[in-house]
């Protein structure tokens, strides 16, 4: 992160030179033409895939029918938004989305940082690599496979019930996926199992940037292992953690879709159904693309608000933001 601030450092000077106006701008462009040309493909990509689709938001205000031209669509104002907010279930759906997301985020951060610190403390290189590989492998499973694994592990004759019964901890097998209240926890655990290793990679990279001399100095000063972790490793990762946190807060309404859809069922629907599942059921499967778009817009707006709020909060706390 230190490096990044250095790159950013010259920018404040820009306004001072800018009094020469447009010419200076051109000159700067010329100086940096290699860089500019290299960015062109990405600007085009961003424009096509991120800005053009925003035009599709018009659908949210229409009774959109496919294969009709834009002028033939019927405009209905906020009808679809009203349907969303007036539906009794939408509040529940929103609650599920936020709860799942927050649980995933907190669990995801704590476990990934924890795993990274622990892996970093390992001294046996071979063992370290094996642990790291095993921990990030589940990330590459598709959710369809992962959900099948989760549901068979949690089924009545699954391994967890067998262990619980064997240890006489319960009198009767537990129907894990049949209890709505447990769903958030199961989802959080499943997400963690699947992604903890993968998420830890970036923290490991951050740890490797920390100057080894600091550790040596601390050692000489008599700091214990735990003290070194608390006073050197974690502060060293702080900037990475904050950037990731801000970015993740932007995705606060993206609690995922596959896991909830695949693990959800009638008995846990009140806790499993999130915005994306709701959109599939009432938007896309009903060919009600307008409703799906309205829900998507709602998500984007909320995400944007969260992102800006988190960023300015972080700036206020003197941690530097994304922008």
């Amino acid at each position: 992160m230190q490096a990044q601030t250095e790159v950013n450092a010259p920018t404040p000077k820009m306004p001072q030179r800018k009094d020469k106006g447009f010419k200076a701008f051109l000159k700067k462009c010329k100086d940096q033409r290699a860089l500019l040309i290299m960015t062109i493909p990405f600007v085009i990509w961003v424009f096509i895939f991120k800005y053009l689709p925003v035009w599709g938001w018009t659908m949210a205000f229409q009774d959109y029918k496919p294969a009709r031209t834009f002028s033939e669509q019927e405009w209905v104002g906020f009808k679809h938004f009203l349907f969303l907010f007036e539906s009794d279930r939408f509040l529940g759906v929103l609650r599920n989305t936020l709860a799942q997301s927050v649980i995933n985020m907190v669990l995801g951060f704590v476990t990934a940082i924890g795993l990274a610190v622990l892996i970093n403390e390992l001294t046996n290189m071979k063992f370290k690599r094996v642990v790291q590989t095993i921990s990030y492998l589940p990330h590459f499973l598709s959710w369809v496979v992962a959900a099948a694994l989760v549901s068979s592990v949690l089924s009545i004759d699954g391994i967890i019930n067998e262990i619980l019964m064997g240890l006489n901890l319960v009198d009767r097998e537990l129907l894990f996926l049949g209890v709505g209240e447990w769903f958030w926890g199961i989802l959080g655990a499943a997400e963690t199992w699947k992604n903890v290793g993968w998420n830890a990679i970036i923290y490991l990279a951050a740890i490797s940037m920390i100057d080894q001399e600091q550790y040596e100095a601390a050692k000489i000063d008599g700091a214990s292992r735990v003290q070194r972790i608390i006073h050197i490793t974690i502060p060293g990762m702080k900037s990475v953690i904050i950037v990731l946190l801000i970015m993740n807060i932007g995705y606060i309404l993206e609690a995922g879709f596959e896991a909830q859809y695949l693990l959800g069922n009638g008995q846990n629907v009140e806790y499993s159904e999130n915005i994306d599942v709701f959109v599939i059921k009432y938007g896309i499967s009903q060919f009600n693309f307008a409703l799906a778009t309205a829900a998507g817009m709602f998500k984007t707006v909320i995400s944007f608000v969260f992102l800006v709020a988190a960023n300015s909060l972080s700036k206020k706390m003197g941690q530097g933001g994304l922008y």
């Binding site: 290699a34 496919p66 049949g178 009638g266 059921k281 009600n288």
Partner: protein, 581 residues
């Protein structure tokens, strides 16, 4: 500097390639359906000859079949397809659906790129709304006399509200052939239980669960020590209807969907909020309290459900036979006749006449349609291909095979199969290679009886069915004093509107919303009602009723009721017209 120039050049090249690549792509997609190719070929050949009748120039079209997964082939790869190619010059690249139908068809609609021939399954209405199909009525009348003859009685029913025909569905009924084996819904019990309890014949819901209870009490575990499951249910995703349809069947109605159709007035009444559903839930609640109801019934998915039935732990369940086909076949393949299931027509009480066997039914949607963007000459080639399939000889070739090879004809004109022929036709590989599996459903087809009195489907021909029973089957047939397994079931009453669920429901309308809303509600509340304490049953049921979307239900009843009425009317008209012709 030199290096920089190189870099710049490379970048420009990449950019250029990207731009060219993109534009190439879009060109390609617009021509993906071979349209330019085929139309060029078509015109090249037709103009000099001036006789489209003789046009046998080989041409291949795309057929996208969303009705179910399967192996993607070109029809020329199978025997029947080869023969049809010789007769018409046309072959089809058949592509089956993988994954979600709505998504796939939705993409087609959004892009406007369709295969020439399309079966859009549950998304059919959306394709029609988007103007994706071409009207077929003139094409059929002009170029497809055989096809017209086959569908003439249903001509009016095939028309949509705008008066156009867009779809040819499979199965134009011609008389009634009673199935010999269960093809639709029934309450199944494991034969092992029936044999042990000296072949009981349950008629009512109480008797049915009494049989299961008695067997479970004596045999709580299977031979390999797994816990038996008294009664399981399929509640996964859209297949939930196999569960929620149960009270309808128990009340003596066939599967008309979410509503019961009155025999006299043809009015539709939703039953999900009636005492039928309440009584059924009450029974299940009681069964659950006795520990006979599968605890995982509401958490298992379709595969887990099938696996459970296959591995022999389940004593009883209700389902439609075609949904458990895979499990059924697997159980039938082994030598053990006792792990198979036998179906019973269960009703609430003995005085209710069961209606589990489907009456003669014409279903107008889904079906196959020719899509917009297909040039006219290609439309003609396709409709002629379908016309060739609609010829009676071709129909018999598809359903029965070749006389002397796949079936025999007795002196009095009855078709039958020898035991060797039945054995030869049993392996799926054989039926695949010959093409039976690809052509026997989905294409224009009659159902019921040929005019000579033979059954369209060999499996419904009593001569064939009788020979197909193994010794294990015969033990049960004898014990119940019947000759076919459907003999326990009552004859279906005539219901010209059947099935009412094929009434087109406008996407996004209140009626469509009812379906989704109520399904979600049942999925949420029924588990609570069934697995709850019996003392809370009334409160739970009331909670469900309070949430029941009555307004939407009324809209649904109106749409389905009107659909049933107009279907019955049009059918009467159509039959008259066909007779007059």
């Amino acid at each position: 500097m030199f290096k920089f120039k190189h870099l710049l050049f490379a970048l420009m090249l990449v950019l250029l390639l990207a731009v060219v690549g993109c534009s190439d792509d879009s060109d390609e997609t617009s021509g993906e359906n071979n349209e330019p190719d085929t139309s060029e070929e078509g015109t090249d050949n037709e103009t000099p000859e001036e006789e489209p009748e003789e046009n046998l120039e080989p041409v291949s079209y795309d057929f996208f079949d969303a009705s179910g997964p399967g192996t993607d082939i070109n029809t020329s790869e199978v025997e029947l397809g080869k023969r049809f190619e010789e007769a018409t010059g046309v072959t089809f690249d058949i592509e089956h659906i993988v994954g979600d139908v709505n998504q796939k068809i939705g993409t087609m609609i959004a892009s406007g790129e369709y295969p020439e021939l399309l079966n859009a399954e549950q998304s059919t209405d959306a394709v029609i709304d988007a103007g994706g199909f071409v009207p077929l009525q003139d094409l059929i009348k002009e170029h497809a006399p055989n096809l017209y003859d086959m569908y003439a009685p249903y001509w009016e029913l095939m028309k949509r509200d705008d008066g156009n025909i867009y779809l040819i569905s499979s199965g134009a009924p011609n008389g009634y052939a009673r199935p010999a084996n269960l093809e639709q819904g029934a309450w199944f019990i494991k034969r092992e239980a029936l044999a042990e309890l000296d072949y009981p014949e349950p008629r009512t819901l109480d008797e049915y669960f009494a049989v299961i209870e008695e067997f479970m009490a004596a045999n709580p575990q299977t031979e390999d020590g797994a816990d038996r499951i008294g009664f399981t249910a399929l509640t996964y995703d859209w297949r939930l209807f196999a569960f929620t349809n149960q009270p309808n069947h128990l009340a003596g109605f066939p599967n008309d969907g979410g509503a019961m159709i009155d025999m006299e007035t043809q009015d539709a009444t939703v039953y999900a909020n009636t005492d039928y559903t309440r009584d059924w839930l009450k029974k299940l609640n009681e069964v659950n309290n006795k520990g006979l109801f599968d605890r995982e019934a509401f958490t298992q998915n379709y595969d887990e459900y099938l696996a459970k039935i296959t591995n022999g732990r389940v004593v009883g369940f209700f389902d439609y036979q075609w949904q458990i086909g895979d499990a059924w076949n697997k159980l039938g393949e082994d030598e053990d006749p006792y792990n198979d299931y036998m179906g019973f027509p269960i009703t609430f009480s003995e005085d209710i006449k069961d209606q589990y066997l489907d009456p003669v039914a014409y279903v107008s949607s889904p079906g196959m349609g020719i899509t917009t963007g297909t040039p006219e000459e290609d439309q003609i080639r396709i409709i002629k291909y379908l016309d060739h399939i609609a010829k009676i000889e071709t129909q018999k070739e598809i359903m029965w095979g070749d006389e002397g090879v796949h079936y025999e004809v007795s002196d009095d004109g009855r078709y039958y199969r020898t035991e060797e022929q039945i054995a030869m036709l049993e392996p799926k590989e054989f039926r695949d290679a010959h093409g039976f599996t690809y052509f026997e459903w989905g294409w224009p087809r009659m159902s019921g009886l040929y005019d000579d009195g033979n059954s369209v489907e060999p499996r419904r021909q009593p001569e064939v069915a009788a020979l197909s029973y193994k010794d294990g089957d015969k033990e049960f047939l004898d014990a119940y004093g019947i000759t076919t397994f459907t003999e326990l079931f009552a004859e279906p009453e005539e219901r010209p509107w059947f099935p009412a669920w094929d009434t087109p429901v406008e996407t996004g309308s209140d009626a469509a919303l009812y379906d989704q809303t109520n399904n979600d509600l049942m999925l949420r509340q029924f588990p609570k009602i069934i697995t709850g304490d019996p003392s809370e049953f009334d409160a739970n049921w009331q909670e469900y009723l309070d949430e029941f979307p009555s307004d939407l239900a009324e809209a649904y009843e109106e749409v389905i009721g009107n659909g049933a009425k107009s279907k019955a009317e049009k059918l009467a008209e159509g039959v008259e017209n066909a007779n007059a012709e």
